[in-house]
Every structure is written in C-alpha cells, then in structure tokens.
Point group: C2
Chain length 279, copies 2
Amino acid sequence: MSLENTTVNKSFDGWTKHFVHRSTTLNCDMRFAIYLPPQTDKGQRVPVLYWLSGLTCTDENFMHKAGAQRTAAALGIAIVAPDTSPRGEGVADADGYDLGQGAGFYVNATQAPWDRHYRMYDYVLTELPQLVEASFPVSDKRSIAGHSMGGHGALVLALRNPDRFRSVSAFSPISNPVDCPWGEKAFAAYLGKDTRAWADYDASMLMRKATAFVPALVDQGKADEFLEKQLRPEALEMAARSSGHPLTINYRDGYDHSYYFIASFIDDHLRFHSQHLTG
Amino acid sequence: MSLENTTVNKSFDGWTKHFVHRSTTLNCDMRFAIYLPPQTDKGQRVPVLYWLSGLTCTDENFMHKAGAQRTAAALGIAIVAPDTSPRGEGVADADGYDLGQGAGFYVNATQAPWDRHYRMYDYVLTELPQLVEASFPVSDKRSIAGHSMGGHGALVLALRNPDRFRSVSAFSPISNPVDCPWGEKAFAAYLGKDTRAWADYDASMLMRKATAFVPALVDQGKADEFLEKQLRPEALEMAARSSGHPLTINYRDGYDHSYYFIASFIDDHLRFHSQHLTG
C-alpha cells in the first residue's frame, strides 16, 4: 500500500499530516488527515480516534476548525479524518450537495452507478484502519466519532462492530436516516428503493436491537437549523431506552450545526474516548 | 454608523459574529468578525484584542482556525478581526496575492490608484475601535496582535500609538518590511518610491527609536518557509536591544507559517494580553 504524504504541519508539539493513497475498496485515490500527538515522536504507540465529517466536508475541515489537537496532544490520542466520499474523474456524482461526491453517507452502495466506488462503510471499517495501523505508530485501540452525516456513520460503524470500537461519539448526528429527507434521498440512491436494506445503516434501528454495547456520547445544539427535520436525536434516545444501550445525549442551548459548536465541546468528547481507549 | 450582522455562532458560551458596515475611512463596505465572551451576556464590559490577519486572509480565518475563543471566554476578552484590505467593485487591485485586495499592509496609501481606498492604518487605529466601542459591551482597553503582514500591522500600530494599546503580540511578523520583497513591493506601490516615507511603517525602525514602550511578544516558527527572506525577526530583536524596548521573541522548533502554529501558541498570547488588559 503506497502512501503519499502531501502536507506536514507541526501542531501542539505533534504533527498534523495529510496523505493520499490508492484505495482498493473505493477504486480511486483517497485523501485522509492524521494528527500524531507528541508521544509518537518518543516511540510510543497511541490509540486512534476516527473522525467522520459531514456533508460537503473533506479531510481538511476537522483538522482546521475543531481545535482538537491541543487535547489530543495532552491525552496522547491520534486522530484520523478521512474524506467524506470517493472522488475524482470517473467517480459518479450528482448535482445536490447531499448526494455523490462529498456525501458518501458511510454505506456500501449496491445500486448503479454508485456501486462502483461508494463503499465508505468498508473503507472506514477495514481498509483505512489496516493502512493506518501498518503505517503509523498507533495501537489497535480504536474509537470513532463524527458530525452530522459523519455522526450517523460513526454510530452505525460502532453499533455494528462493537468489537472494533471502544467508544463512539457524535455531534448533531443524522440519528434516524430512514425517516428524514437527507437519509431517504441518499439511501434510495445508494441502497435502492426497498427500505429493508436501509435498516443496517440506521443508528436508531441498530441501537434499538443492540445486545453488545459501545459507550456512546452525543452532543446536539438546540439552535441547530437541521434538528427537527433531519437529525431526530429523540429516535436515538428512545432506542437506547428500549434496549438499555448506554447513551448520553447533551442538548446545548443556543448552539447550531457549525464547527463552532464542535470546537466548544470537542474536549469533552476527547476525554470521553480517552477513558475508554486507555483502559 | 450602520452595522449589518451577517452571522452569529455560539462558541464557548459566547458569540462569534460577523458584521458589514460602510467605512468612511476606506470608502467601501468592510467586514469584520468579533468574538464576544460570555461575560458580555451578563452585562460586563470587556477589553478588546484586535487581531490583524496576513496576506490573502479575510475576517474569517482567525475565527475559524486559531482556536482562540476557548481562552478568550475564560479570560473575558473580546477579539475583533477585520478584513485585510478594502474590497469590492471599484476598489483598486493587482494580480499578485501580495498587493491590492487581501494585502492592505495596514498603511495609508498616498499613491494612485491606491490612495482612494487603502487606508487600513487609519481604519484599524480609529474608525474600527470607535465603531466597536459604540456598538458592543466593551471597554476602551485595547491590545493588538496579528500574523505575518498582520503582525507587521500590529507592531506598527502599537509602536506609533503606545497610548492606545496596552500590549502587542505577533506571530511570524514581517518585522523589517523596508528590507524584504513583500514590503518593498507593497510600500513602493502604496507609499511611492521615496523610501523615506516607508520608515513610519517599519516595526524595526520604529522600535529602534521608541521612547514610549508597549510590552511586546513575538512567536516565530523556525521551520517557517518565509523566515529568512521575508520576516527578519533578528532586525526587530536588534532594534529592541538598541532602544531597550521590552520584547520577548520565542523561536519555536519545527513550526511553520500556518494557522497550526498560531493555534499551538495563541493561548500564551491571550494570557500575555490579559495581564496587560486587566491591570
């Protein structure tokens, strides 16, 4: 697996780096960012938090705007942030911001023309961790987090793979995508009109039937413009109550859907994951 | 003075906001950002740190990338970040990134076609603080900081107006613009070929002859790609030694010219200013 390093920036005594590699899962070149905390310079293998971004984002947004490096450095956690979809010439796309490139929804597409490249679920679950663990001074302790579409992805990946992730957290996740406009549009395109295929990618449905648990933390802004129509955290809350799945949801007065919200509470999420990653 | 609020984002229990107003100094519409810490919600008047950004930046970069809001909230400091030049139709511009729109250099231009709009020195010194102090719950305690071209601007404004600013700090400032390619190009265009007019805008020359002092802090990355050719902090260091002006310069191993460097040390700068603003 060849890995091309495109940028290196020292940050908080560690390193924020971007890479490009050929993804066999996605059948295209893929970009990701990694923050390596200073402990890795001293030969220590550190645990990894995977961060999945939201609609329209790339591998850059989180590293630029979340302000996570400070506390990741203090706690000794690496952070890996992949791009949000396959990209490039020959990769299917659509006009809207909520389907196609920049909007992979962390599923394995089964429908043409998407099925040729759009396999973000497998990419994040298997290919990316294999590459990261073979290439950087990290351990095999993993947690996962994300924002909006990426919060959905993080919850789905953790709930379906409780043996792979020690904890999961989300900001403003699309909690019940089978029942909101963003999810319905993307799932119909990527997975087809038969909604039975959608259940495996719906965090609320997965949490409702969960028997193996992954500690889960969600932060949701009460001034989020997408709260009622798209995000539906109450569905996740009810599912957790029904199955007894551990879940903390914090509703935050006045906060919106932006990275300003994420930056305000990312330290809480990093500390939450650190508790589970360093056990 | 009318002030149009374009965005509001809650951050760290305070508010990051952007505004547009008609600038009489610059003869065009101008944008700026302000961070109002939570103390202002409780009716407290807080001191203000003015932040001047570097080449190609706008009023957005610092608020998005520096991660300053967390500590500004804790210390109770407002931060005001103006755009880096006049902009818009009818405002003179040039092809390069280092002259014209996005590259105001915080001077009052005397040469056509620049003299019609490019008066960033007066704007930051007078019009902007008047507007800010009339419109927001802030006191008249001011400090000033900036990055690269904005570090040059902050140093020049403070050194020429020690009664107006309680402290000054800079990341990677253009310390001796009369003797570097960026400064020579901009000053020749804005101020004319007679270099005697340049001295009032050169931080090293100003610091060398300073008699009234403003506590000054500079951070400089040793892996900064512009260090030797454009920034010349050694000129500033020699000037401080010559006049006895208080100046701390920290050279930081491995850090470059980016916002990752600023984010890594912005807390130190905020605490430095807070000491002088809350005296």
